[in-house]
């Protein structure tokens, strides 16, 4: 039994734009319904703002904007995935906006293939691997790499008044 569990990987699959992504569940706290997000002025666009989660104020990040994917209006399927991240030793919760959340699947680690060098929708360094499950291609994200100290630092430092015109999409 134990040997088997080492080879298995539990993954939450969700959609961003047209693509299915997966994230290993150990870092995931919970998935909540979409709720209005309070915009924080003068911060980067992909940082949508903050929400109230049982009295805690939690930032929400739109990976679609971060990965330059297409952005659509929130629907009934839109969810916020709450994950735990660490920035310079301080751990805090962070929300990820997803167009929809599919399911938790158990994958054999042997089925996971490395991503092709070219033609990926997102930067290769954030991809752990690719896997086909029920005829659906799941791109496994490395949350640890997306929200590594370096990247978070980059996000936190980069939040000076942005020069770009506000996107037409309306997060509020």
């Amino acid at each position: 039994m134990e040997e088997a569990s080492i080879k298995k990987l539990q993954v939450l699959s969700f959609f961003l734009d047209q693509d299915c992504f997966g994230a290993e569940i150990s870092a995931i706290q919970e998935v909540i319904e979409y709720r209005p997000i309070t915009r924080v002025p003068r911060s980067p666009d992909f940082m949508l703002g903050v929400i109230n989660l049982r009295g805690q104020v939690i930032p929400v990040v739109d990976l679609r904007l971060y990965f330059s994917l297409n952005v659509s209006e929130p629907t009934v399927n839109t969810c916020i995935i709450i994950i735990d991240v660490k920035l310079s030793g301080e751990s805090f919760a962070l929300g990820l906006l997803a167009d929809s959340v599919k399911e938790v699947v158990e994958l054999d680690t042997s089925d996971i293939k490395p991503p092709p060098k070219l033609g990926n929708v997102i930067d290769n360094k954030f991809i752990l691997g690719m896997v086909e499950y029920n005829k659906l291609l799941i791109i496994l994200l490395s949350l640890a790499r997306i929200f590594s100290d370096d990247e978070l630092q980059h996000i936190a430092d980069g939040s000076e008044p942005s020069e770009t015109v506000i996107e037409e999409s309306d997060g509020t």
Partner: protein, 692 residues
């Protein structure tokens, strides 16, 4: 006296530790770490008892310590008999510290010392630690006795005694009695003449000057006597009566010899009127009550501060839930719900206040450290300086208090180094050779004001200006007022000290003070008269967890502005030009001030209403306006930290949760103003919002 309280608290802990160690040693007599713990406990008590003037305690513990020392060195071994002797000794120390020491106790001490010496023969005769005269420690706990005899014509001149009395009573706990100047006779009684004498006992940690301030307008005509009395003075009825001059000592003694209650006897015998005795009794009750307060009888428990933080969080959430419920009850007109919501509100408020008070610490707990600092530094600098502290009872949130220490040390160092002059300079200027630094804490309209004032040389405006021009902080044509020049010392990298000394003047000084005070949502102001002295006032909120805020709306977004920065709100017609500018100039009561258009600054997309509200704020001694769409109202605002991800986003203090569960951001007015100044050029770019 705070020192004594600290000692008592520590002594209790050390004695408990000692007892525990002794009990362990009884089982395993050679446990080295326990022996060390016990030795340390005794040693600490000995040292600190000497410091607070409990010489006998220190004398006695010395012998216990000697014994432990020998145990430590392996000269003697502990057995059951010696352990029980040590436990006895421990109990004795406890009663020496916490109960009054009497001759009887001293006798017990000697007896115990003998028994200790039987176990551990002393090497040589032991002398008690350096003696500290017991009375020198402090002005002492005490109270003010204020006798007020208003001028005969006070009523005719239209003076009212009540405001004066009220002001005095606001200074602290007090007991007031009223009497006649002379017993009125029916035939000669003139109702227009003021024939009253007030006697006010006031237990407050204030200076004589601040009591005199209450009499500012009447000082010349009224007869006012202010005396500081110590609690050690008698609270016996006879003495009180004597003090107020109702009777002399000999008569009291004569009556007292016949025993029963003095008060009854005196009034029965007609020597003193019953009323006077009543008044004296009232005073007695007051003195006894205040005395009780100063003796620490309440047991305290130590709680890890994170538990308190958690409690605070929970209370904050409760406040939020309550505001949600009250909103529901407003919309749905259900009487039972209204009642329950009101009741919940009352309880929540009470719970919130109690929780706050648990987190509050008296500022006096930090004063000891400052006394030491002033003492050491003044010796080092060869100056004669005295530190006077007032308002030690003033309470502040522990977080605020912890972070206030360093700025205060900075200010005190500055006062000592630059403020107070050398003794000969002072004498030449006609001042007393000893300089005085006053550290005063008071409550002022919902916040705490801490003032550090010295009677030193004051700031040299010319020097500061010259330096500022040299450093390029200001230009010579700026035409600054004296006050503006004084404020320059808060600019970064500014120091006027001719030479850099060990104490201060490294060029990182007042700007650091200012930054750290502003980080605590406080403000620093300076007031200095050349040749007379300098006063630096720090105004701080009492807590950082909840603030009073003004909830405003821009488009569909809500923001909270800390109320302590708000001065007034004005309304304006929206004009075409407002749409495109993030800052503009408005006329407010004849002054032209900058107005920041938050809609532009924050890129709010919704259309602008016909009327704009402008909130006039004050930050960094500057007035400026903030334009918003609507002022929703005043709110108790629970501050939640914004995620570390937003730590570089300027102008925000944190976030709060509104009654409907949504998040609103709290603006940091100081930061906002700074960031507007920096990014002026960028913000003035043409706006992309189409005109409405």
């Amino acid at each position: 006296m705070d020192l004594l309280n600290v000692f008592l608290e520590e002594a209790r802990e050390h004695l408990n530790a000692l007892e525990e160690s002794l009990l362990v040693l009884e089982q395993s007599p050679s446990d080295a770490s326990e022996i060390n713990t016990a030795f340390r406990a005794m040693h600490t008590i000995k040292g600190s008892a000497g410091m607070v003037g409990l010489d006998h305690v220190s004398y006695f513990t010395h012998h216990v310590e000697t014994l432990f020392d020998q145990v430590r060195k392996g000269i003697i071994r502990l057995d059951h008999a010696s352990i029980s002797l040590l436990l006895d000794a421990k109990d004795h120390v406890e009663s020496l510290i916490f109960k009054e020491s009497s001759n009887e106790m001293m006798a017990i001490s000697e007896q115990l010392i003998h028994r200790l010496q039987d176990i551990a023969p002393t090497e040589h005769a032991v002398t008690p630690e350096a003696e500290i005269p017991p009375s020198q420690l402090d002005e002492g706990e005490g109270y003010w006795r204020i006798t007020i005899a208003p001028d005969e014509n006070a009523f005719v001149d239209g003076f009212d005694c009540m405001p004066v009395l009220r002001e005095l009573q606001s200074l602290g706990d007090s007991a007031l009695t009223v009497g006649w100047r002379e017993q009125p006779q029916q035939e000669s009684f003139d109702p227009l003449k003021c024939n009253l004498v007030f006697l006010l006992l006031l237990s407050a940690d204030v200076s004589k000057d601040s009591i005199h301030d209450a009499f500012m307008f009447v000082q010349d005509d009224w007869q006012i006597d202010i005396d500081r009395l110590s609690f050690n003075e008698s609270d016996k009825l006879g003495d009180i009566l004597q003090d107020i001059g109702a009777i002399d000592k000999a008569k009291i003694e004569a009556i007292q010899n016949s025993k029963p209650k003095l008060g009854e006897l005196l009034s029965e015998s007609g020597l003193v009127s019953e009323k006077t005795v009543d008044q004296a009794l009232q005073q007695q009750a007051f003195i006894r009550k205040e005395k009780e307060k100063t003796t620490p009888s309440q047991p305290t428990i130590k709680v890890p501060s994170n538990k308190l933080d958690r409690l605070m969080d929970l209370v904050s959430e409760l406040v939020i839930v309550h505001s949600a419920i009250s909103q529901v009850s407003l919309v749905n007109d259900i009487e039972a719900l209204d009642t329950a919501s009101e009741e919940l509100g009352r309880l929540t408020a009470e719970l919130r206040d109690t929780t706050f008070s648990v987190r509050m610490l008296p500022i006096g707990s930090t004063f000891g450290r400052f006394r030491r600092l002033v003492r050491d530094l003044s010796r080092e600098l060869g100056k004669q300086v005295q530190l006077e502290t007032y308002g030690a009872d003033t309470e502040l949130d522990k977080v605020v208090l912890e972070r206030l220490g360093d700025p205060l040390v900075h200010i005190l160092r500055n006062s000592l180094d630059h403020g107070i002059e050398m003794a000969d300079v002072r004498q030449a200027a006609g001042k007393s050779s000893q300089g005085t630094i006053k550290l005063e804490a008071t409550y002022e309209s919902g916040s705490v004001k801490i003032t550090v004032s010295d009677d030193g040389g004051g700031l040299h405006a010319d020097k500061i200006l010259a330096k500022a021009i040299e450093r390029g902080v200001v230009s010579a044509e700026d035409n600054l007022s004296v006050h503006e020049i004084q404020n320059l010392i808060f600019e970064p990298g500014f120091s006027t000290a001719a030479k850099v000394s060990d104490v201060s003047g490294r060029g990182v000084g007042m700007d650091v003070v200012k930054t750290s005070i502003e980080a605590l949502q406080g403000q620093v102001t300076i007031d200095s008269v050349q040749g007379k002295g300098t006063a630096i006032a720090i105004t701080l909120p009492m807590t950082l967890a909840i603030i009073e805020g003004l909830l405003v709306r821009i488009g569909i977004e809500y923001y909270v502005i800390p109320l302590n920065t708000v001065q007034e709100c004005i309304e304006e017609q929206t004009t075409e030009s407002m749409l495109h500018q993030s800052t503009r100039v408005i006329n407010c009561r004849g002054d032209y001030i900058t107005c920041i258009n938050l809609r532009q600054l924050f890129h709010v997309k919704q259309d602008m209403p016909k009327l704009q509200q402008t909130i006039i704020c004050r930050a960094q001694e500057q007035q400026f306006g903030l334009s918003v769409d609507e002022i929703v109202g005043q709110r108790q605002t629970v501050i939640k930290n914004l995620s570390p991800l937003y730590r570089h986003t300027t102008g925000l203090l944190g976030a709060t949760i509104l009654g409907d569960g949504n998040v609103a951001l709290i603006l940091d007015i100081n930061d906002l103003y700074d960031s507007c100044q920096l990014s002026d050029s960028y913000e003035n770019m043409p706006a992309e919002t189409p005109p409405c």
